[in-house]
Amino acid sequence: MSPETASQAIDFCLSQARSQEVDHLEIVFFGGEPLLSYPLLCSVIDEFRGIQTPFEISFKMSTNGTLLTEEIMEELSRRKVYVSISMDGDPSVQNRQRPDVQGRGTAEQLEPVMDRLLRWNPCANVNAVVTPESAPVLDQSVKWLREQGFSYISTTLDYSANWTLENLKPLKSAYERLATYYLERTLAGDKFYISCFDEKIRSHARGPLDPSERCVLGYRQFSIAPSGRLYPCVQFVGEDQDSSFVIGDVRTGFNETNRNSIFCCSEQDKPECDGCALKSRCSSWCACVNWQSTGRIDQASPVVCEHERMLLPIVDRVASRLWKRRDPLFIHKHYNPAFPVFSFLEDLVLSPVKENHS
């Protein structure tokens, strides 16, 4: 992204936030690898910070970590950027799935980066992408990431991969093993977040996502490509070549016809899901996941469907057992809206105390 486009993007975001009278504007830097444009990233943040706004502005960044030096981490922390790292698991998984441009594994390179990131932000999030190749060891990957000190572990299926019933079976076994781990660690009082389990428990404990919690494709959330073109979600940006999902440009504003037609198309009822008891807990509402998997945004993804039918009973059994035992951590984590605050304060007070996660 050129500095000019970046500046126009800032103006566009601010004008949108003002016109929508929001309380909070969140800017997320994504890639590729956003640290490749580190100086521009800093100048964008500084420009945002230099403008008086009636709303809060926060910054997040997702990185592969390879360029995350001590100096950069320090500067990002000073600028209050919440850094999330993409790592898929232990060195064998990481090296296979995320080699560098020369094809070399990146696990060794990331070893000090993890320590650095967690030192600056003990609540840093790690994103692990699950592919058919890494699925059989998903439980080991999560355990390994937890042992490195990550408390917030997000796992995401690579929906564009060639998932079959055969390669979903080992994933089921891995989820079952992960369920045992989740149960044991929760009973031991270990506070952590594993998205594939906690989000599904949340969907039952707190009910379906409210529209205010969802991206509301192109309305509540939009993405800006390096060219300045606007997309409804980061997943649609790709190489910025496909104009079918372009909903405007930072220079000219939203193309309301396109934005509205994409949104309405994604919100259509999916007849293939009619009568499904899991509908309110399923991710089939997510247009970008459906698009990645089926090439259409109005069609429920078969992979999502198989995956939800596999995962939900495993998760619900664990949650039911924890409820049966009236586990205080489980109860407060999922039913106490103040849990994140109490938890954060506890971590703040205890931050020098080294935990043993083994």
Binding site: S320, R326, P328
Partner: protein, 295 residues
């Protein structure tokens, strides 16, 4: 073709009831059925205590020590009914008690199967409810399911010496009103025996068979003292436990002597309601205790 068969597909789930933990539509689990304290870590409590910020350590860490409310001492077993009833308490109907107990287990997240045979060493009985996943359940001690050592009869039946007509009449009554299934079939076969000696032996055998599914004092003691490390929790809930007596002579009852049948019925319902509340409270307390023991 193989590829097509192995492709994931959209398949609506018609029925799903695996989530047995509170949903957003249930009462707030932090305060229902009992308040659950925030699980602050011990290190935090210690740190705050050191800093003098925390006055009472216990308020953050402990829910209070749970006790088993269904000990054998509390059970009122062995029980011996009086020969005459004046001034005796009346007892909860076993059906009503079971309804409350089953509901509490269900609300606490357990899935009980009814009439589950239990056998360990030489202890053999039928549990009223048992969750096979969590090895947790209960057996209700009432008039119909106790062996002679737990419910001592004031006029014991003796198959060898009681008049044969009395034995036959007794058995006929039970076949008509009480027995079911295999026991009923066995009793009917016994009634068909015309030879007196064979009938007496058949009667005695039948009693033994009935006794096998009933709760003896020895079995009640066994269940009440299963070591907690076995993680098997089977409550012996006895309707002879004083807490579950419907006491006719209560002050409340005396103070408001009923003046009509309706009033009598209402008072009686209130008393039963109170006893059922006691029972519910005790079952919850039992599960809390079981959890504290590693359930």
């Amino acid at each position: 073709m193989t590829r097509k068969n192995s492709s994931p597909r959209v398949k609506p789930v018609r029925k799903y009831n695996i989530a047995r933990y509170p949903s957003h539509e249930d009462p707030d689990p932090i305060n229902h059925p009992q308040p659950v304290n925030f699980p602050f870590r011990k290190e935090l409590v210690a740190t705050l205590a050191t800093l003098g910020i925390l006055g009472t350590k216990a308020s953050l860490t402990e829910n209070g020590s749970a006790k088993n409310p269904f000990t054998l001492e509390q059970s009122g077993l062995p029980h011996q009914p009086s020969m005459f009833g004046t001034g005796q308490p009346s007892y909860l109907a076993d059906k009503k008690a079971r309804e409350v107990i089953d509901r509490v287990f269900r609300e606490e997240g357990f899935t009980l199967k009814s009439n589950v045979p239990y056998q360990e060493e030489d202890n053999e009985l039928v549990l009223d409810g048992f969750d096979e996943n969590d090895h947790t359940g209960y057996v209700l001690a009432h008039f119909k399911n106790l062996e002679k050592d737990a419910l001592i009869p004031w006029s014991p039946v003796n198959p060898n010496s009681d008049p044969i007509d009395q034995l036959r009449s007794r058995l006929q009554y039970k076949v008509k009103n009480e027995f079911t299934g295999k026991i009923k079939e066995h009793a009917q076969r016994t009634l068909e025996l015309t030879d007196e000696a064979r009938f007496r032996k058949g009667f005695a055998d039948l009693e033994k068979e009935i006794g096998r599914s009933k709760l003896s004092l020895k079995e009640a003691r066994h269940l009440a003292t299963i070591p907690t490390e076995k993680k098997e929790f089977i409550a012996v809930i006895s309707l002879f436990d004083r807490r579950f007596h419907i006491t006719r002579g209560s002050r409340k009852f005396d103070a408001a002597t009923p003046k009509s049948a309706d009033e009598l019925k209402k008072t009686r319902e209130e008393q039963v309601g109170e006893v059922l509340k006691n029972l519910e409270k005790s079952v919850r307390q039992y599960l809390e205790w079981a959890r504290s023991q590693g359930l």
